[in-house]
């Protein structure tokens, strides 16, 4: 069956909805064809592409991830996604947890450290990390709130 110029769909999802969206795609019988990462506006843009074998429709799921954030691995739904995820972790410094078959940054064993992250993005990432650290310190140093126990006269309230 010839499908001339099949449809390409783009869906934007939040980081928290990533796993359920991918599980739905698995349920529909779609095949994962690529995971691509790019640095756009000091954020990681991760694009997951799925295709339907019968209609050739390409569904792309886009997730915007902060430079210091961590995203979960989709290896539970698609076991062979580990190659794509290892590559992204090594080339971009994107933090992905629970990869099944994690090469820990030694997939291609290149000399350069995170070659696709340019200087501007590295500085922005360091600044963001600093801000997160400061916010965590302030939250730890805040005084504990006073808890007053109020007793009511007579009877249950």
């Amino acid at each position: 069956m010839t499908v001339i110029e099949p449809v390409q769909k783009f869906e934007d999802v939040q980081k928290g909805d990533l796993l359920i969206t991918v599980m739905r795609k698995r349920q529909e019988g779609l095949r994962l064809v690529q995971i691509c990462c790019a640095v756009v506006n000091n954020q990681y843009e991760v694009l997951y592409s799925f295709t339907d074998d019968d209609t050739y429709v390409l569904t792309n799921v886009r997730v915007m991830v902060g430079l210091n954030d961590t995203i979960p691995s989709i290896c539970d739904s698609y076991p062979y996604a580990n190659y794509y995820e290892n590559e992204m972790a090594e080339m971009f410094g994107l933090k992905i947890e629970m990869i099944d078959g994690d090469y820990h940054g030694k997939f291609y064993r290149i000399d350069a450290e995170e070659p696709f992250l340019n200087e501007k993005a590295k500085e922005a990432r360091a600044l963001e990390a600093e801000e997160i650290r400061k916010a965590a310190e302030e939250a730890a140093n805040m005084p504990e709130p006073e808890i007053k126990v109020v007793k009511k006269e007579g009877g249950v309230e």
Binding site: V3, I4, L32, A38, L58, Y108, I110, F116
Partner: protein, 359 residues
């Protein structure tokens, strides 16, 4: 229980044309697990997109791989043309289709020769590569290059086919078809070929789908998926069906690829008959801005080109997802439980193009 030993396979091995390292965990001549280690051919050419003008990046994209060279150049040009909304003229589309199909014929003939070499059939290896020289003569006569053609540009092509060249092309096609028909009897009838390939490395249709495999590797297990059916370039006007086989072993893969060579010869003849007159390219002005995803069918399977541009001479991101990257998990699955003596032919049967995988 036997003793397990880890045998390194590659990167330098007589059967391997390209370096890939596999750690094979072997117990009593049976492979239990295969762990791939790649990175020998990683050059980082996607990083060159930040240093090269987007018009010149074609030449770098073409040199991703020497065998699938034309497909990479064409895919890159299509992706940038999609971003810039450029409509390529009809004649250029047909010319690209003709050269792409010649590229497919040469790649499959190369693979047939290497497979024959992998199980020791040297004379068949020489015969396939001799037939392949006809294809390379055609490429040299029409584009000037044997392996790297450099005829694609953003907006079309910059070489044309005249009447003499078309007559020469048709003569060479007839010769290739005749020579290959003689080889076919050996390929499909010989007892040694059958013994070495039947029942080896079987993958079912569900396994191939779950592993995300692509191209003739998947089609040999019954998965009917060929990107040419989506009608990019001039494929929408040509009449053909994907070739599939149900058995899923190494013999089925040889069958599918040989039949695809004959199918490609028919497609070239159809395209030559329908070749319209017209311009070769359109001028391209301005900078690319936006993103695009383009999928084409390379000889080894489906290749995806992603381009992200931000209104500058240099692209923000250029990424190729090559078919062998998708077929590697299938290889690891096939190697589990295989005999150590069959490792060579199993590795070659996925048609590995490691330089495509690692870019």
């Amino acid at each position: 229980m036997g003793i397990q030993s880890v045998i390194p396979f590659g990167p330098q091995h007589p059967v391997l044309p390209e370096p890939i390292h596999l750690d094979l965990v072997v117990e009593d001549e049976v492979v239990k697990e295969a762990i791939p280690n790649i990175g020998f051919i990683h050059r980082g050419l996607e990083g060159l997109a930040e240093k090269r003008d987007f018009n010149e990046m074609v030449y770098v994209a073409e040199r991703t791989c020497g065998i699938c060279s034309f497909g990479h150049g064409m895919g890159y040009c299509e992706a940038v043309e999609k971003v810039m909304n450029v409509e390529v003229p009809e004649r250029a589309k047909y010319l690209r289709t003709i050269w792409m199909e010649f590229s497919r014929v040469h790649s499959h003939l190369l693979w047939l020769g290497l497979t024959a070499d992998a199980f020791g059939f040297e004379s068949l290896f020489y015969e396939c590569w001799r037939i392949r020289e006809h294809v390379l003569d055609v490429m040299e006569a029409t584009t000037g290059g044997r392996i790297i053609f450099s005829v694609n540009q953003i907006g079309g092509v910059h070489r044309d086919l005249n009447e003499d060249q078309i007559r020469f092309l048709k003569g060479e096609l007839d010769q290739i078809e005749k020579d290959l028909k003689n080889c076919e009897k050996t390929l499909f009838g010989d007892m040694t070929v059958q013994k070495r390939t039947r029942g080896i490395g079987v993958l079912t249709k569900e396994e191939v789908h779950d592993l995300g495999a692509a191209g003739p590797f998947a089609r040999a297990s019954g998965l009917k998926y060929d990107m040419r059916m989506t009608g990019y370039e001039a494929y929408g006007k040509l009449d053909f069906e994907p070739i599939i086989s149900e058995e899923g072993d190494c013999y089925a893969r040889i069958l599918v690829r040989t039949k695809e060579i004959f199918q490609s010869i028919q497609l070239i003849r159809q395209a030559l008959d329908q070749l319209p007159a017209g311009d070769l390219n359109v001028p391209v002005k301005g900078m690319p801005k936006g993103e695009a995803l383009v999928r084409i069918e390379q000889p080894r399977g489906e290749a995806i080109y992603y381009v992200n541009a931000e209104n500058s001479r240099f692209l923000n991101r250029f990424r190729i997802r090559t078919p062998t990257f998708a077929n590697l998990p299938g290889l690891c699955k096939m190697l589990q439980g295989a005999n150590y003596a069959d490792v060579g032919i199993l590795v070659v049967s996925i048609d590995p193009c490691i330089s495509c995988t690692e870019r």
